[in-house]
């Protein structure tokens, strides 16, 4: 199928006008905002809920595993105590990981990034 000349011209014209518009609105050619300021602010509540649930769920899972081990091996209450502690540690680890991933890599914080790599 060959497109007619007028059709090609029209699509070129449209592209040119789109680029003009993007330039005028301070966006790059792909139409993306120059600085996406709305990103981090919008995700604030999400991050807060995420961190707390990461922490709590690890403790819950640790306790459940410990309880299961006690139930199977009859070592009550030691499995639960040990795995509650381990779950606590895992929760802290989860929170550190989650918050480490929230810091964008472009931000230069030498000590923070070092710790982040250690965690991964």
């Amino acid at each position: 199928m060959k497109r007619s000349n007028t059709e090609i011209e029209r699509s070129k014209d449209l592209e040119r006008r789109l680029q003009d518009l993007n330039k005028r609105h301070g966006r790059d050619q792909a139409g993306k905002e120059e600085a996406e300021k709305s990103g981090p602010a919008k995700a604030g509540i999400g991050n807060a809920f995420r961190l707390s649930s990461e922490f709590i769920s690890a403790i819950l899972v640790g306790t459940a595993i410990g309880y299961g081990i006690d139930w199977l091996a009859g070592t009550s209450p030691w499995g639960m105590i040990v795995f509650l502690m381990l779950g606590f540690v895992a929760g802290i680890l989860n929170v550190l990981r989650a918050s480490g991933e929230m810091v964008s890599p472009s931000e230069d914080k030498p000590d923070a990034s070092g710790r982040q790599n250690e965690n991964k």
């Binding site: 699509s11 449209l14 919008k42 995700a43 509540i45 999400g46 809920f49 995420r50 649930s53 990461e54 709590i56 769920s57 690890a58 819950l60 899972v61 640790g62 595993i65 795995f83 381990l86 779950g87 540690v89 895992a90 929760g91 680890l93 989860n94 991933e101 991964k120």
Partner: protein, 250 residues
């Protein structure tokens, strides 16, 4: 509908159905799940049906949604992760539309029941496990063994890593369910204040202005949370899928 804040989450059987000892009744929850699926698939079929060089409003919206989810997936799981796009896109739309349905008065919020969100989170968890084991075999378990840890504390670290891994579906599901449940209860409680205060006469009506303002504000917040939780759920799905594809990179 009753005035207490919990009754909005009651399940009611619309079409009772019992197969063997299993209760397979069609409930109001099922109705809204069907409505969610029908609305999303219907919209996307309709919007992309008449594709044009210059997109119509509906087509443009469909493309924007696609680009949004595709960008999210590509950022966290790489272009390799795009093979999971159908799963991630369906999850995002299902949760988003179900949350938004819940914002209509008298509508049922599907995602406020933990069984739904657990099913979705376990789906992601099982996908990560199966894909990880299929692609890397036993190498997938390197996920639990961080490099550069002394042998002496390795068992401890592995136990912690395993707990942390198993905690994923729990936090993944609880976050979505708890947000929707808590948000809807708060909204209903404040709306209830308006009703009970305004029945106290003139002073009550003046006093009811405050919870009224709160209700309006909370409604806006709930819309934000409804979108945000769909976004966070999808975002974490992408990150977990990334672990299945590159377990060593962690």
């Amino acid at each position: 509908m009753a005035n207490d804040p919990i009754s909005q989450f009651n399940l009611t059987e619309l079409i009772p159905l019992q197969i063997g000892s299993t209760d397979l009744s069609f409930t109001n929850s099922s109705l809204f799940m069907v409505a969610t699926v029908v609305l999303t698939s219907g919209f996307f079929i309709w919007a992309t049906g008449r594709r044009g060089m210059v997109p119509s409003r509906a087509q443009s919206f469909a493309e924007m949604t696609y680009e949004f989810v595709a960008g999210m997936l590509r950022d966290s799981a790489g272009s390799e992760g795009m093979r999971f796009f159908p799963l991630v896109f369906s999850l995002f739309l299902f949760i988003l539309v179900a949350n938004m349905f819940g914002m209509f008065p008298y509508f049922f919020t599907v995602t406020s029941h933990v069984i739904i969100t657990v099913a979705l989170a376990l789906l992601v968890f099982a996908t990560v496990l199966i894909v990880g084991l299929m692609r890397h075999g036993l190498g997938f378990f390197k996920l639990f063994v961080p490099s550069g840890v002394p042998m002496a504390i390795l068992p401890l670290v592995v136990a912690i890593e395993i707990i942390s891994f198993l905690a994923r579906p729990v936090s993944h599901s609880i976050r979505l369910f708890a947000n929707m449940l808590a948000g809807h209860i708060t909204l209903k409680v404040f709306a209830g204040f308006v009703v009970s205060l305004s029945s106290l006469g003139a002073v009550g009506i003046v006093g009811a202005i405050l919870p009224m303002i709160m209700t309006v504000g909370l409604t806006a917040l709930e819309f934000l949370v409804a979108f945000l939780q769909a976004y966070v759920f999808t975002m974490l799905t992408c990150m977990y899928l990334n672990d299945a594809l590159h377990p060593g990179a962690h």
